[in-house]
């Protein structure tokens, strides 16, 4: 424990003067370079703040800058979005709604995220989950509007943010190399094609399976004799196939 500067009984004037001397030193330093930023004129995302200039007050400036990995307003590249729903699934505040945008075919409408910034907590889970890297977060943080409805950013509005070419969050979550895959429980499958129809990356193919011979007195299950096969390198692990499967025969696991 430090004994530095421990007080002793002395002239009461010194009670006041000694701490004040320390404060006066700080005050003099702050005249040269204050610790605050004069906001609309100086902005923390300015590159000048990233340079670690040694300043008179000794405060290591350059620490306070807004770096590219700041979690601000999202930017969406509509062109590369595959409508996989992962962003909406992983939002803890349920502020993402998938809305239809032009560009899809009638059977598979193209859906992109619409974000309600009235609810968003800027946690970044959505951009972490996006397998295509088309939903990222930018350094933009000024969101004041006069109307509450303007807090809802449609995909087009998010695309405009993308086009402003603000610095994008460079952090990409590394996919674990050894991650779980989609596996099938063959006896349960009825070959309905739901998974292959809804897979956003079209990585499921329905392959024929041999129809077994019915033994005497046994009835074969009523089904289509096809089974899904997943192309593992294209699969983005969105789980859509699992949630659309009517028989719960797909599951996460590791092929032995």
């Amino acid at each position: 424990m430090t004994e530095e500067g421990t007080a002793t009984e002395e002239n009461p004037v010194l009670y006041v003067v000694r701490p004040m001397a320390t404060a006066a030193k700080q005050f003099a330093k702050s005249l040269v370079r204050p610790s605050t930023v004069i906001y609309p004129f100086e902005r923390l995302e300015d590159p000048a703040f990233r340079e670690e200039v040694a300043v008179a007050s000794g405060k290591p400036i350059g620490v306070g800058a807004i770096w590219d990995n700041y979690r601000g307003v999202h930017a969406l590249n509509i062109a590369t979005c595959i409508s996989c729903n992962l962003c909406a699934f992983s939002c803890p505040d349920l502020c993402i709604e998938m809305v239809t945008v032009p560009g899809g075919d009638p059977k598979h409408p193209k859906k992109c995220p619409e974000i309600d910034y009235g609810k968003c907590s800027y946690c970044g889970f959505c951009s972490d989950a996006c397998p295509e890297g088309c939903l990222t977060m930018t350094t933009r943080y000024e969101l004041a509007t006069a109307k509450r409805s303007e807090m809802v950013y449609s995909p087009e509005k998010l695309y405009e943010v993308f086009r402003t070419k603000l610095p994008m969050n460079p952090i990409r979550l590394e996919r674990p190399e050894n991650e779980d895959q989609i596996l099938l429980d063959p006896p349960l499958c009825i070959g309905c094609n739901a998974c292959a129809r809804d897979c956003p990356t079209a990585c499921i193919t329905m392959l024929d399976v041999a129809k077994p011979e019915a033994k005497a007195g046994e009835k074969l299950p009523k089904r289509i004799w096809k089974e899904p096969v997943v192309n593992d390198s294209d699969c983005v692990r969105c789980g859509t196939c699992i949630s659309v499967c009517p028989k719960e025969c797909l599951f996460w696991g590791k092929r032995p």
Binding site: A7, Q26, S90
Partner: protein, 378 residues
């Protein structure tokens, strides 16, 4: 006469109410009332995926978010039987110790303001800002970090971070000297704080008081040493203790803890420079939820017989000993999460360290307790 100090009172630092029975200036009885900030975090956690609960932990204690993230993550990892890589453990210690600096600086600012000192308040806030800036430069946010994940942490440090961090640490060590000159060097401060709010060790233990308040009573208890978690068993540091059990002793303990944090951080930064590696466990189950997609419904997972488990973790948070209990019943969500807040116990013991003092002594005494109502009410 009973008077209400709170819920809106400069002394409370947050929404809580201290009812005080006084006779003239003398305090005869006190009755702390909490619950104004209850947000039902434990209940909300029951329908969030394991990773999504992390967003709640930052809001649980708004001055020590990282420590609470760490607490929950340790419990969840135990319940799910996942082990983080070693680098992630060091990164978590880095977060914890920076958070301790940030929290103690915030405490310093609030405490000296309670004593009526405005300049040190501004110094404390200014220096805490550097810590927040560092957090922002690698997590992306100043207070709601969402940095830890079940099985590791979200991302590695950006290039140049360790040099910036060392600069900040060097700068802070200089400032601690200044704080001592301003507070310990001021006879007015000593006359105001010595022998005030005394809470002796035996009483503190009986009342469940932990953290700097317990160590200021001479009890050498620190979970980082006594029940090491993350990488603390591989790091060198001392436990700060003082004997006087009064307000000054708590000041001394926290100042010393900040110096020890700087010592730990230097070791951690050196280790991180030398040992690159993965920061997230390489085999994580998909059903963990964000950033991985949740799949199917609860019934689906239960049918698939995912492993069950219990997790209990305790962490030396800046305010004291926090504990978490996580029950995993095999679903996507924790079945039950329970937290123990150290500040709740510390405030609840108010009767034993306030009675007998004067009304004007309440702000310094409660200031030295370091109240964060977010975690008290959850």
């Amino acid at each position: 006469m009973w008077i209400n100090m709170g819920p809106q009172h400069p002394m409370t630092h947050g929404l809580w109410n201290l009812r005080v029975r006084i006779d003239g200036e003398l305090i005869l009885d006190v009755d702390p009332e909490m619950g104004y900030l209850h947000r039902g975090i434990e209940k909300i956690s029951e329908d969030r995926h394991y990773n999504e609960v992390i967003t709640l932990m930052d809001r649980c204690c708004y001055v020590a978010g990282m420590a609470w993230e760490h607490l929950y993550i340790l419990g969840a990892e135990q319940a799910l039987a996942i082990r983080p890589p070693e680098r992630a453990e060091y990164l978590r210690v880095l977060c914890d110790e920076f958070q301790r600096l940030g929290s103690h600086l915030m405490w310093y600012a609030a405490f000296v303001q309670d004593l009526g000192l405005m300049s040190p308040f501004l110094y404390g806030m200014r220096d805490r800002d550097l810590v927040l800036d560092l957090f922002q430069s690698y997590t992306g946010a100043r207070m709601t970090y969402e940095y830890m994940r079940v099985g590791g942490v979200r991302n590695d440090l950006p290039p140049g971070f360790t040099e910036r961090a060392r600069k900040v640490l060097d700068w802070l060590v200089d400032r601690f000297r200044e704080y001592d000159a301003l507070c310990l060097g001021s006879t007015i401060f000593r006359k105001r704080c010595d022998d005030l709010g005394v809470l002796r060790a035996n009483e503190a233990v009986a009342l469940g008081v932990t953290g700097p308040m317990l160590r200021a009573a001479g009890m050498k208890r620190d979970l980082r040493k006594d029940r090491p978690y993350a990488a603390y068993d591989r790091l060198e540091f001392d436990v700060a203790v003082a004997d006087a059990a009064d307000v000054t002793a708590r000041y001394l303990v926290r100042m010393e803890e900040m110096r020890q944090s700087v010592r730990i951080l230097h070791q951690v930064l050196d280790w991180l420079d030398r040992n690159p590696g993965p920061v997230l466990a390489d085999r994580l189950p998909r059903w963990l939820g964000a950033p991985y997609a949740p799949v199917g419904d609860e019934g689906y997972l239960l049918k698939r017989h995912y492993p069950k488990g219990l997790g209990f973790s305790s962490v030396e948070e800046p305010h004291g000993e926090a504990q978490a209990y996580v029950v995993n019943e095999g679903g996507q969500h924790p079945y039950r999460v329970k937290f123990r807040s150290p500040v709740f116990a510390n405030i609840s013991a108010a009767k034993s360290y306030l009675i007998g003092y004067r009304v004007a002594d309440i702000p310094p005494i409660m200031g030295s307790v370091d109240v964060c109502v977010g975690e008290v009410d959850r």
